[in-house]
């Protein structure tokens, strides 16, 4: 007789365990009692409760918020590190192979310059560090500095933060005089790295600031030079090259031509320089490797 149909509401209340036996429909007093008992109980002390609560709270604090954003936050940092690392590796390679005037003269932005300098120091190459005194703009570095300066101007970049620029400005007798100071050194160029002065006579082609397969050939890396120039060249080519090389280069750049200081060259020498630099480099590598400031080596 107790198996009478149950109203939904009654069933709900019974099943929640909150119905007291005396309120249960006939036949269900025992069920109510049982469920009530199942619900009741003394939880007592839960072993390890405090430690568990601490762990849970700590886990919550360590766990990133509602969205999986934190993962996205971390990733860029990792890639940033990787990028810096790659940069530190790539830049020295570039400096070695491409003879970037900017890096060589300390004209890179501070951190990059430091990174390059640091990276190069590991391979025994000395390049101005971020806090160094910078190249002597009155000396052999003048050409590189002026090239970098004009390249920066051409790109509309501000250059006045670097030590090298400060030196250049000092040598020129003021920032406003740099253009005039450099006028005799570097042909006024509309672009950067495209001076195209290279291949004719002076061996300056490597100084164009971008990739030139002839840089080392024209400079000191082959160790073949016997004398060292000690002043600026007496004459600087001002016009376009009288002849354009059209043969294949005799040497291939080792690193990627990551042009730092400039845009793509408007023209690339297609053949080795027709002439050997008529002035030896300012410094002679000790072991056939380029050990001096590459910027200086551009200057012949």
């Amino acid at each position: 007789m107790f198996r009478n149909p149950l109203d939904d509401d009654i069933a709900d209340q019974l099943a929640s365990g909150t119905v007291l036996p005396e309120d249960a429909p006939p036949g269900y007093a025992e069920v109510a009692t049982l469920l009530h008992a199942a619900r009741a109980g003394t939880p007592g002390a839960i072993p390890g409760r405090d430690a568990l609560v601490s762990d849970i709270a700590a886990t919550i604090r360590l766990t990133p918020g509602p969205t999986p954003a934190p993962i996205a936050h971390r990733r860029p940092q990792v890639s940033k590190l990787l990028t810096l690392k790659a940069l530190a590796i790539a830049l020295p390679a570039m400096a070695l192979t491409a003879g970037s005037a900017a890096a060589a003269t300390g004209a890179l932005p501070g951190p990059a310059q430091s990174a390059v300098s640091h990276g190069l120091s590991h391979v025994g190459i000395s390049v101005p560090s971020g806090t160094a005194v910078g190249p002597d703009a009155t000396g052999p570095a003048k050409f590189g500095l002026c090239t970098a300066y004009q390249a920066a101007l051409a790109r509309g970049q501000a250059v006045d933060h670097s030590v090298a620029f400060a030196n250049l400005a000092k040598a020129a007798g003021g920032a406003s005089n740099i253009s005039a100071y450099c006028a005799g050194v570097v042909p006024a160029s509309k672009g950067s790295g495209t001076t195209g002065t290279g291949s004719t006579s002076s061996g300056d082609n490597g100084a164009s600031g971008s990739n030139s397969s002839t840089t080392h050939k024209g400079s000191t890396s082959d160790g073949s030079s016997t004398s060292v120039p000690n002043g600026p060249p007496s004459s600087v080519p001002v016009g376009p090259p009288s002849s354009v090389p059209n043969g294949p280069p005799t040497s291939v750049p080792v690193g990627p031509p990551t042009s730092v200081g400039s845009g793509p060259p408007s023209s690339i020498p297609g053949s080795p320089p027709s002439s050997v630099p008529n002035g030896p480099p300012t410094s002679i590598p000790a072991s056939g490797q380029s050990t001096s400031n590459p910027g200086a080596s551009h200057k012949s």
Partner: protein, 215 residues
């Protein structure tokens, strides 16, 4: 339909059961004061708030898990809380939904455990239940009123098919509503209502055929 027992029905319908004194209770639905703030603080990892949620849910959680996997209930509960900790930041809802959510997680941990343990699951559960039920038949003339919660649960579980037992466990021990239980079990509320009905009828029949309810 229940015309035979009109007065009983009425008293049940109107009774405010929650206001009645209960022998021993721990925080159930609505017992977490200012749940929204507590949740918010817990989401920030504040221990006092975590403690409130833990104290409210760990006992029912443990009972629910002990019923299913007595030997690893504590571990499964810890796993459940770890998962809760990792995801509580994205939880949004009231206390009832929170309870249901925690039980959903517990149920998944349970399923994972069973998958891992696949065929290693042997008699312990059944044996424990049988022993508990055997206790009920002890000539010590125990009455239902004197049953501990664990004994009552053991009896309930031994008397019912698993799905019916689970409905009652979630409802009675977990403190969940029909809808919340349905969510936890992945069934429709209507299905859970049917299971609930069947469970109650079956229990009534079982208990009626025993003499342990002679009060």
């Amino acid at each position: 339909m229940n015309n035979l027992y009109p007065t009983r029905e009425k008293s049940i319908r109107t009774a405010n059961v929650d206001s009645r004194p209960e022998p021993a209770r721990w925080p159930y639905r609505g017992a977490i004061e200012d749940f929204a703030n507590t949740l918010h603080a817990a989401q920030a990892g504040q221990e006092w708030a975590v403690a409130i949620l833990f104290d409210a849910l760990q006992p029912p959680l443990l009972r629910f898990l002990r019923w299913q996997e007595p030997s690893v209930a504590e571990d499964l509960a810890a796993e459940t809380w770890l998962a809760v900790a990792e995801r509580i930041g994205s939880f949004d809802g009231g206390e009832g939904q929170f309870r249901a959510w925690v039980f959903v997680i517990a149920r998944r941990r349970l399923a994972d455990h069973r998958r891992r343990a696949a065929r290693r699951r042997t008699a312990p559960v059944e044996r424990e239940i049988l022993e508990a039920v055997a206790d009920l038949d002890d000539p010590a003339d125990r009455v239902v009123e004197q049953l501990s919660a664990e004994e009552a649960i053991a009896h309930l579980v031994a008397s019912l098919p698993p799905d019916q037992a689970e409905v009652l466990m979630l409802r009675v021990v977990g403190g969940l509503t029909v809808d919340e239980s349905a969510e936890v079990m992945g069934k429709r509320p209507g299905t859970v209502r049917v299971l609930q009905h069947r469970a109650l009828r079956r229990l009534a029949r079982e208990l009626g055929s025993r003499s342990i309810v002679e009060v």
